[in-house]
Symmetry: C5
Subunit: 355 residues, 5 copies
């Protein structure tokens, strides 16, 4: 497993505000799509040349520029110039290991957040994607690390003019995007919750190194998820209480709703961590129990047969003068004594509830 994929290190000593690709990444042309809409009207287009971005007519009420692939310095810089984004913020967009945060500038808001997917590609079954959302009066720009997102339902509603989204401003669109992301967070703890249910029985019946590794992996998952979700609460809370005019009063109630969902995921993660910690205890106790059972078997066998073997040994000695050996029923007497001993031992262990 890769614990820290932070490529922050490579920047050490670099000059602040300078836009360079993270080491090991090569420049890739981003896919830029623009959806512009008014309550009554809608245009969608894909832009292939970064320079064309400035050609978008911003006379529509709301524009959503979606950028898939952030390793395209030319596009990022073009947008930075067009929307007057602070160089440090452009750098933040590229820094995918950034923790969720919000930057509240006079002319725009910048929200950095993680998207979470269930995925078979990573060992832990969960994949994270860094997403930056730029919001100003009439434009929302989403910078996605890779193609593929959770925004299709929102695109459909905009196209179908369903719900109130077409009538609201850019802040509402931003809210809708955040809501979609946070709602998607529930997928992971739920999936892991299912795994925990099946795990619990296994721990008690058949604790193995494998079950232990599963607990450990789930814990690791929760730690990662927490790292993504925990700062989110503060981000949304700051967004909600921002005095920036970009966020309109009517949108605050919606943000509060996202906030309560974020709290709920955080709660779920904490509860899962408590549960997993309880499971580690359960595992340890279960292994101890099994070991005790092993010990008991050994002790029962040894306690019954060692003394008997000793008696047999005694009458196997070759002394010239051993009167018992010449008694007629000596052999049967000894066998009987042995049986009595064995049965009393068994009784003793029975009463101790070992067998």
């Amino acid at each position: 497993m890769k614990y820290f994929t932070a490529k922050k290190y490579d920047r050490a000593g670099m000059f602040p505000g300078e836009l360079v690709l993270p080491e090991g990444k090569k420049e890739e042309r981003a896919r830029v799509t623009v959806i512009s809409y008014t309550p009554s009207d809608l245009t969608e287009k894909e832009i292939s040349n970064p320079a064309d971005i400035s050609d978008i007519s911003f006379d529509r009420s709301v524009n959503w520029i979606n950028i898939e692939g952030i390793h395209d310095l030319e596009t990022i810089e073009e947008i930075g110039r067009l929307f007057k984004v602070h160089p440090l913020h452009l750098e933040d967009i590229l820094e995918t290991e950034q923790r969720p945060k919000i930057d509240d500038q006079n002319n725009y808001l910048l929200v950095m957040i993680k998207m979470v997917y269930l995925s078979d590609k990573t060992e832990d079954g969960v994949e994270y994607e860094h997403l930056t959302v730029f919001i100003n009066e009439d434009t929302v720009i989403t910078f996605q690390e890779k193609p593929g997102d959770v925004f299709d339902p929102i695109r459909n509603r905009i196209r179908n003019a369903k719900g109130r989204i077409r009538k609201m401003g850019a802040d509402y669109l931003a809210y809708a995007l955040l809501d979609a992301i946070v709602d998607n967070y529930f997928v992971v703890p739920e999936k892991l919750g299912e795994q925990m249910e099946t795990l619990e029985m296994k721990i008690v019946t058949a604790p193995s190194t494998e079950t232990l590794m599963t607990i450990h992996r789930l814990k690791r998952n929760m730690i990662s998820l927490r790292k993504a979700v925990w700062p989110l609460r503060e981000v949304i809370s700051n967004l909600e209480r921002s005095e920036n005019k970009i966020i309109k009063r009517s949108t605050v109630v919606y943000l509060r709703d996202v906030y309560s969902h974020a709290i709920q995921v955080a709660d779920l993660i904490e509860t899962s961590r408590d549960m997993l910690s309880g499971m580690t205890d359960l595992y340890m106790s279960s292994v101890s129990n099994k070991m005790n059972d092993t010990m008991k078997i050994l002790t029962v066998i040894a306690t019954i047969f060692i003394p008997l073997t000793f008696i047999a040994g005694v009458y196997g000695m070759n002394f010239d003068f051993m009167p018992e050996l010449h008694w007629k029923y000596g052999y049967f007497a000894v066998i009987s004594v042995m049986l009595v001993m064995a049965f009393s031992m068994l009784l003793f262990f029975k009463r101790k509830k070992w067998i």
Copy 2:
């Protein structure tokens, strides 16, 4: 066990504020009952048609609309329209996995809370029910997930005009409902407390996988209960300090009382968690002790008989020239030596307090 029954996931990608049934639930007609009263007067009726709700005459001082079954979109929407409830709040009513929270609007207050029952239906013996309480100037609406509640004593007092409830407003009714719910919370830690008492003796005398599972189940119960109770403190505290005119000054002292009860349950849960954590330690130590006892039995038996068996083995050898074998009292001498050895071993273990 089901860890997370949250069906939040199914909403991922859904449009905010849209009223749909949670997946797997089918629409069911809710049972709507209305109690309207003034200090001197009282009417009760059951409404079978959602459209009839608007026919309730709101000239009575206080109206309590109780809705049993929330999977009835028509009724919910009708009420939403009638009482000007924000679409997001209507959605919250349906979201039964919501954590307790309060929403303070200008024209109404919305309190989301959990009812707790002891129940034989769930594995953990505890059942949770989501309850939404809507409060405005003259009306209290309770949205219950399922039929059956803890409000019968309150209904009886309203009917019998007992106590001051008939003379007070909607805020007092809301308080009375919250008080009944919080008082009922004490049932669970008390029941679990009883189980803990009997458990403690078992842990020391006969620690088994079953006792371990019981500790684990109690821990899980406490985690769930905490999840329901913890946010409640903040909810009631916010209600108490709300500057909304719906809550009258005279009701604040009552809310403070509910608050102190909520704190008390929270305290009880924390104490129980501490106790249960102590019990896990006790269990582990107890198992270790038992294992040590097992080891001691094995060691005593082995230490006494293995050397004796060796001696018997020696005199069982078939060497031609073994002088001891031909001594007259060789056999008795060896038996005596063995007895002396065995007794000194026993004495040694006696002094070590192993036997």
Copy 3:
């Protein structure tokens, strides 16, 4: 052990502010004594009829009404009416499982607190008693659960006009009572501290289930004590910072002193909890050590004698052709080999510091 004696449950569904006896308690006449004093004057009397309470002349500067036994609804109600106590507060007086709290009304202050006694009656050796202190301009009322308290020294000082108590108001009397209670808290951690001292040696030398149970009992004691003391700090701090005119400025410095004592007990409890947690670790390690010692004895015995027994077994075989058996010194050679083996084993274990 009884974990939760809370009879709160029985109230679930009851009407707020209604005065009823907790289930299982029967009404008992309370013992009411009144001490009234001015700097120069003092009267003491016992009131046998609740109705007579209103006959107390309140022209004295300070009146202390002490009520022993709270299961006397008539007296409680009479006092409630006379001193205009809110019905909810009267109910609080009866609720002995209440956690420490303070209620600050315009015309009076109500402090709920626990008295702690060492006692042989309970399994844990500690007994708690609920005490409510009512304070207004000129009267202090103490509601005690049972007869017997820690106030005798204060009574004596009032009678002997010793110290400044006779010259001060009701708030100073209330302070003196609180101070006596808090000072008495130190009894318990000190007693438990003594037990911990003797326990520590036992853990290392002879860890048994009994020592474990003692640790567990001490932990439980600390949890209970903490429950009583922790909220106290906030109670006294609120009392000290109260803007209610009942508490005079000159008394604040005294309350601050009580506060610092309350902090000190809380500190002591936390320290004890840390110590006890360290002791559990010590116990577990000590048991592990003992088990290792047991294992070592077994291993030493087995490792020395099992190979020797094998050799003896070999020469006990009945093959026709075993040349060694017919050598003259075969027997002595084998015995010598065995001795050499045993001694080298002993040397090996000696060097491993096992014996």
Copy 4:
């Protein structure tokens, strides 16, 4: 070990503000020394009669009255009267189990603090001494529990007029004393740190009950030290932010320095606690490892010799018809088989890396 030496208990029920000796202590004449100085002048004297204290001429700019031995009620009361100290504060001076605190009166400041010494007298190697520092406009009074302190360097500087101390006021002197005390705190974690270094190797190579006890003792030491240092941070912080005119603005920067040292000791203690907690884990794992090693020896010996002994036993049976016994090379064949078995077992354990 003595956990709680608090003699607070003996006061339970006593009257507040009354000056009595703690139980078990007898009145002892204190040693009172006075250093009075101006930038240019200095007098030192020892006062043998408490009544003489009032004869000190307070026309010097700064007076430092040092009192060694607090069990001298006459002196304490004389000083109390002379400097108008609140009776409760006089009582605090005698209460050596007091936790560090500050009392900010109009006419004086009272700082209660602990001095820490390495000492061979106590089991833990650390000794605590209660110190009260009284500060007013021109006088600093230090009440020490016992003779001997860490102030000699300060005395020397005053005498030698070295540094700025002679030019500064009483608040600077108080600071210098506090600084000397806090600097001395570092002695203990450093000494313990050295012990931890040697301990760590021992834990892994030779974990014994003794190493365990040492960890436990260090933990206890840290708990005690924390109890002395933790509240100190708040005390100094309060002193620094006090609005009392006794503390001059120019002294605040010095107090801030003491504060940062106090934080540093607190940090050191927390780090040590983390380390010690890690060491307990290390110890437990190390013991487990050793036990596993013991088990492995036993298992190797038993697994190799028990089957061989069985084979020898078989050919020691006395059946009339056992063809193998009469084969010429039967004996050698069996011995060979045994050797092969033993070697394959050894190989198996070798491959398992047990031997």
Copy 5:
């Protein structure tokens, strides 16, 4: 390992504000280099005589004085006099065990911080260096404990007039230095993260004392790192919110960026600690599992062969009358019985999944 290298102890009793070398250090001439620049101009020089520092012409817009080696009292004092540094702060510069802190004076800011390097010289592979940064209107002074730093990229940019650094003031230079230091922090958790990845597999497959020591060492590393990073967050946050005019508004956004990086390192450390704590659990469980496996081997061997050996022992007895011995197929019958017993045992263990 050296836990506490704090030489604070040696100062105990020393006079505050006095500049002396830490014990065991001898005075060494520091290497002083000065870079002075305006947007258009740049001079660099090395100063060999402390007295020459005052000769630096401060008419340039920004001066960066870098001092390598702090054990040069003459230089420190000269700078102190020249820049009016408070004596206490000069002392702080020498105190290399100081925790990160900021001192906000009217005429300057003093930031104390740790530089972190990966190093083969220390046992833990990490080296810390104390760095003090003095900032005033036009000058930044860096006091380094030893030669060698992470500032070369910044030097190069100043020389090449790359980026905006030449156009900005001293506060921006200070920011650039802090940024370089904080960026370098990521090196350590990343390196340790890599070690953790390889460690995890080892724990499960081959847990040894060595793996345990590695976990312990990593934990110790994290504790040290945390000690360096944790207070840093507050330091930068205070710097960002400082109302001192030295920090210009335009620099605040850059400081906020450093702050978010500091938070990110702190996060990374906490996550690592969680992971390492999970690894200790994993280790303990893994050792328990291994021990259980050892026990199982022993039990299987003992349980199969001990009863068989007993049977062999029985027929090795020398009784005159043992009918079985004379049966023709007695021997084969017994051998068969033994085989059947052995196979049923094997089957039993097979079904228990032990073999």
